[in-house]
């Protein structure tokens, strides 16, 4: 078999290595399907990829539909440590996500990673702080959310500590079957109204609304309870917040699923555009590098729609994408020194605003996504106009003179606007959603998988190496070779004593 030729037939062709497609590829491979997973890009992840700084700049400039703008604002004087040149010298230390996310420590993705045993391919950092923006000082403040935080907080009086703890406990213990008195009159009414009636201080109300529950202003009590409860139930596992961030950036996550797919026999090929997709008699054929390959089914990512499948109609409902993104490199991070002294290297802020507000992540070198001495800030909101216009209110708030970004980039992750003709055997995966964690994308992946293989289990636990029977070995035997050395030595004693 030559280096560059592929097998001629597969059960499934997956085009695009974005998050959703990669899950589908892994799930198919896991149940024994032969999978060819290819990407026309030379990198993994599609819209979910991370790049080093140079790669990121290049990617923005080569993606016309991103509406990207980039801007350097470095101090070029001789004494300056971070000139543009110096920053670019550390390009490889950056891992800039197109789609930055946080994982709830017991959220859908974490559960999936663990239940499927894919967790062994990734490492995480615990987010250090959930922040709030304090208008009076124009600065970032840590929101005490765990019991330990509340105890140590200097921003709350002891009365406030008690009130906050009591409130959070009442959410935690809330059960639909026996609604406590204080909740009864507010079901179906705004969450904010409920909070205001609880004789809480404005600070606590703000913390609970915007940082803990992350509710919009018009959210109802039911939503508030659910979101607050979820936040609290994710606390206490790692660090002081409910969140995890993947070490080296979110671009690692799709690759974990790809690795599993490969371990179960999936064939991987980057930089591989395909053409001439045809579906005939329940079989799909396509051409790549002059080789015609057949596959029973095809899955593709929405940012990577094969031309043959595009229909001329425009989509009316944009389910995914449509995100405005900002990426900023700072020397002096937002918030106090103490706020940035955590070892996780991740701070998170949700800012309220029209259209769902914005998610903001500030990353230090501990997260493995930027060099020591610099900080990376990601802002994500829904897009309604140009990315810079969409993010302007947040940017103005955050980046005061003290914190002028050295580098600024705005871009859009476009929504899927074209209609696609899919069939029973050809299925499309959605792109990124405006959500903090990956819940919707996982649901999407599972839905695609079920469409392809309705009766199969979705990503059952992959066995650990020691559970696998290798070739023709006796499944109940213990290999001499793998026995610990001390046991071997002790067993020898037994034999020698027999000889005596």
């Amino acid at each position: 078999m030559g280096e560059n030729s592929l097998p001629g037939e597969f059960d499934l062709l997956v085009q695009g290595t974005g998050f959703t497609e990669s899950i589908v590829a892994a799930a198919a491979s896991r149940i024994g399907k032969t999978v060819l997973h290819i990407d026309s890009n030379e990198y993994y992840g599609g819209q979910w990829a991370s790049f080093n700084l140079e790669g990121f700049q290049k990617h923005l400039s080569e993606s016309p539909n991103f509406q990207a703008t980039q801007n350097w604002n470095t101090d070029e004087s001789e004494t300056s440590e971070w000139t543009k040149e110096n920053i670019l010298k550390t390009s490889r230390r950056f891992s800039i996500d197109l789609t930055p996310k946080l994982l709830f420590s017991r959220g859908k993705l974490v559960k999936l990673l663990i239940s499927s045993n894919i967790c062994r391919y990734a490492e995480f950092r615990a987010a250090d702080n959930v922040c709030t923006f304090e208008e009076s000082t124009s600065s970032l403040k840590s929101v005490p959310c765990s019991r330990t935080d509340v105890f140590n907080s200097k921003d709350l009086t002891i009365i406030e500590k008690r009130l906050l703890m009591k409130l959070l406990n009442s959410f935690l213990n809330y059960k639909d079957e026996e609604v406590p008195e204080e909740f009864k009159n507010y079901l179906g009414k705004p969450f904010l109204e409920f909070l205001k009636f609880q004789r809480l201080t404005p600070k606590i109300i703000n913390n609970v609304m915007n940082s803990i529950s992350m509710c919009d202003e018009d959210a109802l009590l039911e939503e508030g309870i659910e979101k607050t409860k979820n936040f609290l139930l994710n606390l206490g596992f790692y660090g002081n917040t409910p969140f995890l961030f993947p070490m080296y950036g979110c671009g690692e996550i799709p690759q974990c699923f790809c690795r599993l797919c490969a371990v179960f026999g999936g064939v991987y090929c980057l930089k591989k555009p395909i053409s001439k997709i045809e579906e005939k008699d329940d079989e799909i054929s396509f051409t790549t590098d002059n080789q015609v390959i057949k596959a029973k089914k095809l899955v593709f990512g929405s940012s990577n729609i094969p031309e043959e499948l595009l229909s001329s109609e425009k989509k009316t409902d944009h389910c995914c994408g449509g995100l405005s993104r900002g990426v900023f490199i700072l020397e002096k991070p937002l918030g106090s020194e103490e706020l940035n002294s955590g070892g996780g290297g991740v701070n998170f802020l949700k800012l309220p605003g029209g259209n769902g507000g914005a998610f903001i992540l500030q990353l230090s070198h501990y997260s493995g996504t930027c060099p020591k001495g610099l900080h990376l800030v990601h802002i994500t909101s829904k897009s309604s106009s140009t990315p810079s216009d969409d993010l302007q209110p947040f940017v103005e708030k955050l980046f005061t003179d003290e914190h002028k970004p050295l580098y600024t980039a705005y871009f859009t992750l476009p929504s899927c606007s074209s209609k696609v003709s899919t069939t029973e055997n050809i299925v499309e995966c959605c792109g990124t959603f405006f959500e903090l964690d990956y819940d919707k994308s996982i649901e999407n992946a599972e839905m695609v998988f079920k469409k392809l293989y309705p009766d199969e289990e979705f990503l059952p636990r992959a066995p650990d190496p020691e559970e696998i029977i290798i070739e023709n070995e006796d499944p109940t035997a213990i290999s001499e070779h793998t026995l610990p050395e001390d046991l071997k030595a002790q067993l020898l004693l037994e034999e020698s004593s027999k000889e005596v």
């Binding site: 024994g32 140590n152 002891i158 009365i159 500590k161 008690r162 703890m165 109940t476 035997a477 004593s497």
Partner: protein
């Protein structure tokens, strides 16, 4: 070209596990057999170290093996120079650490570690402190490790302020930790002793800070009892210092009462030591000692005080000569008396509690803290109010009703006793009726009264054994329904 994934079935896995287990048992038996055989011939050599190590690494709780290891290590190193000796001891420390990874709560392993260091030519205590820090990072409530830490810190001569810092760090990380609060109560009296009052463990400034810290913990999580223990320690609900509390002597009997139990037989320089003193309880140590059917010694009548020396310290009590007896009483210290600065802090904390009670009028721990704080701030002034809180607590926290009733009894008796002492009257009668008493407190002080009235209380049977202490009482009024 694709092979299929084959995974052991659960039956196959069980069969394999069984085989593995059998092999392990076989290996264990072989090794143990060899160890016993060697021990019987006193072969305490390197092989003994290897074998015991192999077993302990899997199961650090086989105690005999630790002993064998100690014997072997001593034997092997007995003829070595210090340097070589140290190297072997250090190696064994490395081994113990491996065992602690298997079970960080193994008594045997921690114990062996102490032993190694005690027997090393040049133990590195500093390194042990770092080891503790590492283990407490993994599990901050591993009390084996806390105990070991206190031991090695002492040896390493670590300054208490460094340890205090460590302790604070641990509490900041998780305040539900008896060990670290307890450690604080040991360190603070060394670091910040009270400059003048010996019975007060820590200085006023330190006390203020600690009170704030602990109230913050209590407000953050009222259900956490570790903080409460510490708060009580700070507020001084502890054993009083030894003193003579009361004395009375008549023609035919005498009683001497102390703030806490003492062995009267071992006091010196006591002018009445020749009398036939007996403890009320019959125990060697008691707080009340009596003489029955004695005749008052002539020469004593004129004395204005009695004194005695116990364990090198002299105690005395002013006496008054009355018609038929001599008598003296000293008001007990019910609580610490705090300086103005601390009282300010306590008042502020009381305000916080009261503010909170507006939001949560039925919060039991707030009610209790508030009533304790009131006592510490102004016992007399807040008498009614603190009782009101206790009464409320009896209703909302019915599980601990008895505890609150007893506490209220204690406070009521304190009040009556204090009023009597301040009046300067003769101890003819003390009226303790209608106070909702459920138990007797300060019974050693009550021993001097001729008449005690406990009518219309709720004294229970469990308290009746204390009646013996009322040595002078010719009349004790009790409700009928106590059997």
């Amino acid at each position: 070209m694709h092979g299929r994934l084959k995974v052991r079935t659960s039956a196959e896995e069980a069969a394999r596990k069984k085989k593995e287990q059998d092999l392990k048992v076989k290996a264990y038996k072989a090794a143990m057999g060899r160890i016993h055989q060697k021990r019987s011939t006193n072969e305490l050599d390197q092989e003994m170290m290897t074998l015991s190590g192999q077993i302990l690494a899997r199961n650090p709780d086989v105690f005999t093996l630790w002993n064998i290891r100690k014997e072997s290590l001593l034997e092997i190193t007995s003829s070595l120079e210090d340097e070589e000796k140290q190297a072997l001891f250090d190696k064994d420390l490395g081994f113990v650490e491996q065992c602690l990874m298997v079970n960080p709560k193994s008594y045997g392993a921690w114990h062996h570690r102490c032993w190694i260091l005690e027997n090393s030519p040049s133990p590195n205590w500093q390194r042990e402190v770092q080891l503790c820090t590492r283990y407490l990072k993994m599990d901050e409530r591993n009390f084996h490790c806390w105990d070991y830490r206190r031991y090695v810190v002492n040896k390493a001569e670590i300054k208490p302020d460094k340890e205090f810092e460590f302790c604070t760090e641990k509490i900041k990380h998780n305040f539900s930790n008896y060990s670290s609060w307890h450690y604080r109560s040991k360190l603070l009296p060394i670091l910040q002793p009270h400059p003048t009052v010996k019975s007060r463990p820590i200085s006023e400034d330190a006390l203020k800070e600690e009170l704030e810290l602990v109230l913050t913990a209590a407000f953050t999580d009222p259900n956490d009892s570790s903080a409460w223990f510490y708060q009580r320690w700070l507020l001084g609900y502890s054993q009083p210092d030894l003193d003579i509390g009361a004395f009375r002597m008549s023609k035919d009997k005498a009683v001497i009462a102390f703030t806490k139990a003492i062995n009267l037989k071992s006091v010196t320089e006591f002018s009445l030591s020749s009398l036939n003193w007996k403890s009320v309880s019959g125990e060697t140590y008691d707080n009340t000692w009596i003489v029955s059917e004695a005749s008052l010694p002539e020469e004593f009548i004129g004395d204005s005080s009695i004194s005695l020396t116990f364990e090198g310290k002299t105690y005395s009590l002013e006496l008054k000569n009355q018609e038929t007896s001599v008598f003296g009483i000293k008001c007990p210290k019910f609580e610490y008396e705090f300086g103005a600065g601390v009282v300010e802090t306590l008042k502020a904390q009381l305000d916080s509690c009261n503010e909170l009670l507006e939001y949560e009028p039925d919060s039991k721990w707030t009610l209790l803290t508030a009533s304790l704080l009131m006592r510490a701030v102004d016992r007399k002034g807040y008498h009614e109010k603190s009782h009101e809180f206790l009464k409320k607590l009896q209703n909302i926290d019915s599980n601990r009703k008895g505890y609150y009733e007893d506490l209220a009894s204690k406070w009521n008796i304190e009040k009556k006793l204090e009023e009597f002492i301040e009046s300067g009257k003769t101890p003819t009668t003390l009226d303790l009726s209608k106070l909702n008493l459920t138990a007797f407190y300060y019974e050693q002080y009550l021993s001097v009264f001729d008449e005690l009235n406990f009518l219309e209380n709720k004294i229970t049977q469990r308290s009746l054994s204390k009646l013996k202490a009322f040595h002078f009482a010719s009349k004790i009024y009790l409700d009928k329904d106590i059997v």
